[in-house]
């Protein structure tokens, strides 16, 4: 059986990859995907804790269902905003979305 620490490590790695992608990638869609990775790290954690935690119970899995649902809504909004930007500016490159940089 894989111990709890293994799952937490997977979560931490996913979260770190998400943060790395967020900070380095230029494409707007990749940025949104990186955020999804961070949220999935949360889900891995929650489900692992709900199975192998100190006081294991079902709440963590229910929490993760809510997280997944809301993350989908958030991604939809993010993509819709990218479409609006693309229509006005013909780019989704995050480094070019900078008219307010001072």
């Amino acid at each position: 059986m894989v111990p709890l620490g293994g799952y937490l490590a997977v979560g931490a790695i996913l979260f770190s990859i998400g943060v790395y992608g967020l900070l380095t990638k230029k494409n707007g869609i990749i940025v949104l995907l990186s955020i999804e990775l961070m949220l999935n790290a949360v889900n891995v954690n929650l489900v692992a804790f709900s199975r192998f935690g100190i006081a294991a119970n079902i709440t963590g899995q229910i929490f993760s269902v809510f997280t997944i649902t809301v993350a989908a809504a958030e991604a939809a909004i993010g993509l819709a905003i990218l479409v609006a930007i693309f229509r006005n500016k013909a780019t989704i490159n995050a480094s070019e979305i900078d008219i307010m940089k001072r």
């Binding site: 949104l32 709440t59 809301v70 993010g78 609006a84």
Partner: protein, 517 residues
């Protein structure tokens, strides 16, 4: 345990259900109306509905703590106080919006009104949540609605950019918040906030302190984004500049109040005062055992100090008035954080003083900041520029608006005869009383810095001449907002005891830690 949905006390949800029904009615009416039709009636309908919800919320005052659905949703004096702030704030934002929203920029303007209502609903859920899951749903309902509202001027590139930056920073911070929450769930085995509070000290002593620290810091970063304090304030200038001005006002007042509500619910219930709930007393000092509270208030004090310094100095450099007010509201968040950072968690009476000061300042901030934003939205729209020079000669174009704006600025700067002065003075005395001399000193010095940029606007209004001397007409909705907020700012400045008494009779900090019936 089975819960019969029919026997639940649904009356407790009356304010929230009013807002839900209102937004459903407006959504449906929007569908059935002709595409080009005028939708300004929606705004007045919303104001009426919000007035009804405010009435229901007012009825909740003075009740004991009650909870619904296995303590996931709580009706307590703390949440009710914040809900009043949010409802009044959103009502004023609606009145501001009536004149701002036009078909040229916002083609489907019905969306604007019902999204603002769902955002309000989200903030109310946040204020009343008793469980991390409920809290997260409320947070996201508020956030997702405000992402769309920030970018609702679809053809405006600035608005698009603001929305994208808001979506990215917002989702990242909620991911960080959740990652922290997952560890707290892991070590305590519950998502109920009071449940965590009761279990967290045991987990700390059992050697899970690393996870609790991790959870705490992630909470601070994730929640700090919502109230725009130092580690996560960089989004504020860009989003505030690009969003429609009434939405900027909404973000700076209602969204921030909701943020402070969850800061207190999470940080203070879980990390500081869970021991008050369990009633454990240290045998040597006779005080409740605080495993984390001194450390936590130290971190909060550092953040509050940095927020005041950075917000005020950066605001002094801005020439765009919306960016300036974004950074001014960052600085104000620093002031509001001071009573939380100096609080000594040893007795309910002492905590009540700090938290009441904070609620007083939030109410004053609601008045003065909304009033200032009403004037800003009028002036920037009339002159078609966001630069400071839009204010040039405002006093000569409309003396009443000029005078009202002067009072809002005096109040924001914390000078006498205004509610802002009383609020800031209370916070200052509070900091001195609890021996946080550094914070008090930083407050005074940064307030002096803030005079510089607030009076810059005053100078523009009185001493500069604009391109035109023509009289500036003020639409009815805006007149009403400026009048109400002006009365609030000045009257609560002259008779602060009215508001202070109201808070002290209706607000008890112990409600935060009492499990509901």
């Amino acid at each position: 345990m089975t819960v019969d949905l029919l026997t639940l006390n649904w009356g407790l949800l009356a304010p929230e259900l009013t807002i839900v029904i209102l937004s459903v009615i407006i959504t449906l009416a929007d569908l059935f109306m002709k595409n080009g039709g005028d939708r300004k009636a929606f705004a007045w309908l919303s104001v009426l509905g919000i007035a009804l919800a405010t009435y229901f919320t007012y009825q909740d005052l003075g009740q004991p703590v009650q909870s619904l659905l296995n303590d996931t949703y709580r009706v307590d004096s703390f949440g009710t106080m914040f809900k009043l702030i949010m409802l009044i704030g959103t009502g004023l934002v609606f009145m501001m919006s009536i004149y701002y929203v036009d078909k040229k920029e916002i083609k489907y303007d019905g969306e604007y009104y019902y999204l603002l209502l769902t955002a309000l609903l989200g903030s109310m859920i946040m204020a009343s949540s008793g469980d991390l899951i409920t809290l997260y749903i409320g947070l996201e309902l508020l956030s997702i609605s405000s992402y769309i509202l920030a970018g609702i001027r679809k053809t405006n590139l600035k608005s698009n950019e603001a929305a994208f930056k808001y979506v990215v920073t917002g989702s990242v911070s909620s991911a960080i918040l959740l990652y922290g929450a997952s560890f707290l769930y892991g070590v305590t085995g519950t998502t109920n906030i009071i449940g965590i509070a009761q279990a967290v000290q045991g987990a700390f002593n059992a050697g899970f302190d690393f996870y609790i620290y991790l959870g705490f810091f992630m909470f601070v970063v994730g929640l700090g984004y919502k109230i725009s304090i130092v580690p996560a304030y960089m989004w504020a200038p860009d989003v505030y500049e690009g969003a429609p001005t009434p939405i900027t006002a909404f973000l700076s007042v209602v969204s921030k109040a909701a943020g402070f509500a969850i800061v207190m619910r999470l940080l203070f219930t879980i990390f500081a005062a869970g021991n008050i709930a369990t009633g454990e007393i240290n045998a040597e000092t006779g005080m409740p055992i605080n495993f984390f509270s001194d450390e936590m208030t130290f971190y909060l004090a550092v953040l509050a100090g940095l927020t005041m310094i950075i917000g005020n100095t950066m605001a002094a450099r801005q020439i765009n008035v919306k960016r300036m007010f974004a950074l001014s509201s960052v600085a104000q968040a620093g002031y509001i954080l001071v009573p939380l950072a100096v609080v000594k968690i040893n007795s309910p009476v002492v905590m009540n003083i700090s938290f009441s000061n904070m609620i007083f300042y939030l109410m004053a901030y609601l008045m003065m900041n909304l009033g200032a934003f009403a004037v800003i939205s009028l002036v920037t729209k009339a002159n078609d520029t966001d630069e400071l020079k839009a204010f040039a000669g405002l006093y000569h174009r409309n003396p009443w608006i000029g005078v009202a704006m002067t009072f809002f600025l005096l109040s924001l700067a914390g000078l006498p005869v205004t509610a802002g002065f009383i609020g800031k003075f209370n916070i200052f005395v509070n900091a001195l009383l609890f021996e946080s001399y550094y914070l008090a000193a930083i407050m005074v010095v940064t307030s002096v810095v803030s005079y510089f940029y607030y009076f810059n606007i005053v100078r523009q209004m009185y001493m500069r001449t604009g391109n035109t001397e023509a009289k500036l007409a003020v639409p009815f909705g805006l007149q009403l907002v400026v009048l109400l907020t002006f009365l609030g700012t000045v009257l609560f400045g002259m008779f602060p005891n009215v508001l202070i008494d109201f808070i002290s009779t209706n607000f008890s900090v112990m409600d935060l830690f009492t499990p509901g019936m």
